[in-house]
């Protein structure tokens, strides 16, 4: 059985058959996971310096040289790395006095922080399958982003207290700015918002739960929602980027709603993390520094504490750092143009199994293994469950962890 590291569901029931260095047959992978597995066989990177192919040793040596000489290096990526690689990366950041940040910085960070600190109660996906009778997808579209979410955990499977499942014992609610694929499956309880209207909608739910007239939303539908929430035995909310980006600094409003719901019954929150081990990085960082991301170890050499703040986020640091290492991520594709350009103009080191906009622009490219297929390790699922996995493909490529250790030795 193989594991899929295509998203943070970390499906473990994958059966993959390989033939002549290609995928011949796979079972149980969703379309997204299938794309992820197929990617192992095309556009693989080679060790490069300034667009010329070199030996792996030279590329690693050059990377170490760039980082050693940098006054304020940035180490970014991490959410597609195993815990073991992330731990090595954090040690490297400390040694260099570097800034370290991951994708949570512009993704689920502000929600993850509250879940890891316990401010917002959470649970496992297995709990959801076994107990949840009400699930709310708020600003998330799992059918598109985590395709097996509804069939493995949140809507269709049977569970300990949910033997009659979606037909009689589970209701899913979708709150979104558009009729997403998931919204089409939950059309009885689909609430359409204006972009940025999440705070208002939260207030409306709070109002209707207290028997007051909500200021927005169809009154009849809101009252139905209130009844459903009040009859819930065990609820769960899955906030996606739609909600997180809309609320931003107003997360306390969401905390307030969750607290109110918990007066009725158990209501948990599980963040819809995208990359397979973003949560792992946040947990490791929190354990080490007290912060989940955006940390600078600059004061480390003088025995100072790690610093944290928006100036150490990748978006800000791209403009202030003088060298960057990007691992398992393609910020030149996924970040705003100004940030992408700032990174592209730096001495950039890219550690990646595959060609991307970031590897194309990098001064040094170091090829690595695809974790889950070619390298084993441990990862943390979106709900905090740790999953250990072994590779299914043999390769001579080095793993992220091995590459980072070699860079650290060379510094």
């Amino acid at each position: 059985m193989a594991i899929c590291t295509g998203c943070s569901l970390l499906c473990e029931d994958i059966e993959a058959a390989l033939k002549d260095g290609a995928l011949s047959h796979v079972k149980n992978l969703c379309r997204k996971g299938h794309g992820h597995f197929q990617a192992a066989f095309t556009e693989r990177t080679l060790p490069m310096i300034d667009g010329q192919q070199v030996s792996l040793d030279r590329a690693i040596a050059k990377a170490a040289e760039i980082l050693r000489n940098a006054k304020s290096p940035l180490l970014y990526g991490w959410s597609n790395c195993t815990l073991e690689a992330q731990a090595t990366g954090i040690k490297l950041a400390e040694k260099l006095g570097a800034t370290i940040d991951d994708t949570s910085s512009f993704c689920q960070g502000i929600l993850m922080e509250r879940i890891l600190s316990g401010k917002i109660p959470s649970c496992t996906l297995d709990d959801v399958r076994n107990f949840a009778d009400t699930a709310i997808f708020w600003g998330s579209d799992p059918s598109s982003s985590h395709p097996r979410h509804l069939s493995r955990f949140s809507y269709y499977p049977r569970g300990e207290k949910r033997q009659k499942s979606y037909e009689e014992e589970r209701t899913c609610i979708v709150v979104d700015v558009r009729r997403s694929a998931t919204a089409r499956l939950c059309s009885n309880y689909y609430f359409r918002l204006e972009p940025g209207g999440d705070a208002q909608f939260l207030e409306a739910i709070l109002a209707v739960l207290e028997g007051k007239i909500p200021k927005v939303g169809d009154k009849k539908k809101m009252i139905e929602l209130s009844s459903l929430l009040k009859k819930t035995e065990w609820g769960v909310i899955f906030p996606g980027l739609g909600m997180v980006y809309s609320l931003k600094e107003k997360m306390e409003l969401f905390e307030k709603l969750v607290a109110k719901l918990n007066e009725i019954t158990a209501f948990k929150v599980v963040p819809m993390v995208g990359h397979y081990n973003m949560r792992g990085f946040n947990e490791l960082m929190r354990e080490k520094t007290g912060f989940i991301n955006r940390v600078s170890f600059k004061g480390n050499a003088q025995g100072g504490a790690p610093a944290h703040g928006p100036e150490h986020s990748v978006v800000a640091a791209a403009k202030t750092c003088d060298a960057a290492l990007v691992i398992g991520s393609d910020p030149l594709s996924s970040l705003p143009f100004g940030t992408a350009r700032a990174l592209a103009r730096l001495p950039l080191i890219a550690i990646d199994p595959r060609r991307s906009l970031t590897t194309d622009a990098a001064k040094v490219v170091i090829p690595s293994t695809l974790s889950g297929m070619e390298a084993g390790g441990t990862a943390v699922r979106m709900d905090g469950v740790k999953i250990k996995f072994e590779p299914i493909i043999d390769t001579k490529l080095l793993s992220d962890e091995q590459i980072l250790s070699r860079i650290m030795e060379a510094i």
Binding site: D13, I14, E15, H25, V26, K27, N28, L29, C30, R31, K32, G33, H34, G35, R129, S143, S144, P147, R148, L150, S151, R152, F153, Y155, Y156, P157, R158, G159, Y166, A181, T182, R184, L185
Partner: protein, 153 residues
């Protein structure tokens, strides 16, 4: 899914009765219900003036003709591989109470829906509840599909 009117527009519309039915509209309905075959409309096959219509008719009828006896059609190019149908299907659930019933991928050959190479494939359709003398109008797989990749004729 193509409708009777669309099919009618591709027929000669002469009501010549060579197919055994009184009108071309009746033949269109018969084609849709798979009680009639395209080749039974001899003018359409034999007369050159209908060449383009015949070609288009064969194209639109292809998915219907390929549908199974239960009338199940899968459009793999639309499929998300989400497994909702695999987990909702009552035959799958009965066959694999410790796997499909609980959201996991199947392991036996008794299941009728499974996800292979990223999309759903059907198998063993004679076990489907819509088949046979005691057939029911089970629609678990179609109502749980986020992309209309599975439908019934």
């Amino acid at each position: 899914m193509v409708g009777a009117m669309e099919i009618y527009m591709l027929l000669p519309k002469t009501n010549c009765r060579k197919c055994g039915l009184p009108t071309c509209m009746a033949f269109a309905v018969g084609l849709l219900g798979r009680e009639k075959k395209i080749d039974e409309c001899t003018p359409l096959i034999e007369e050159k003036k209908y060449e383009a219509k015949l070609k288009k008719l064969r194209e639109v009828m292809a998915p219907i003709e390929n549908a199974s006896e239960t009338g199940l059609i899968i459009h793999p190019e639309k499929c998300f591989g989400c497994g909702n149908c695999v987990v909702a299907c009552p035959v799958n659930v009965a066959a694999e109470p410790t796997r499909c019933a609980l959201g996991l991928g199947p392991q036996s050959e008794k299941v009728i829906l499974k996800v292979e190479d990223g999309v759903v494939v059907a198998n063993n359709l004679k076990e489907c509840r819509r088949f046979g003398p005691n057939k029911t109008l089970c629609n678990a797989c179609t109502v749980t599909c986020p992309s209309k990749a599975i439908e019934f004729v």
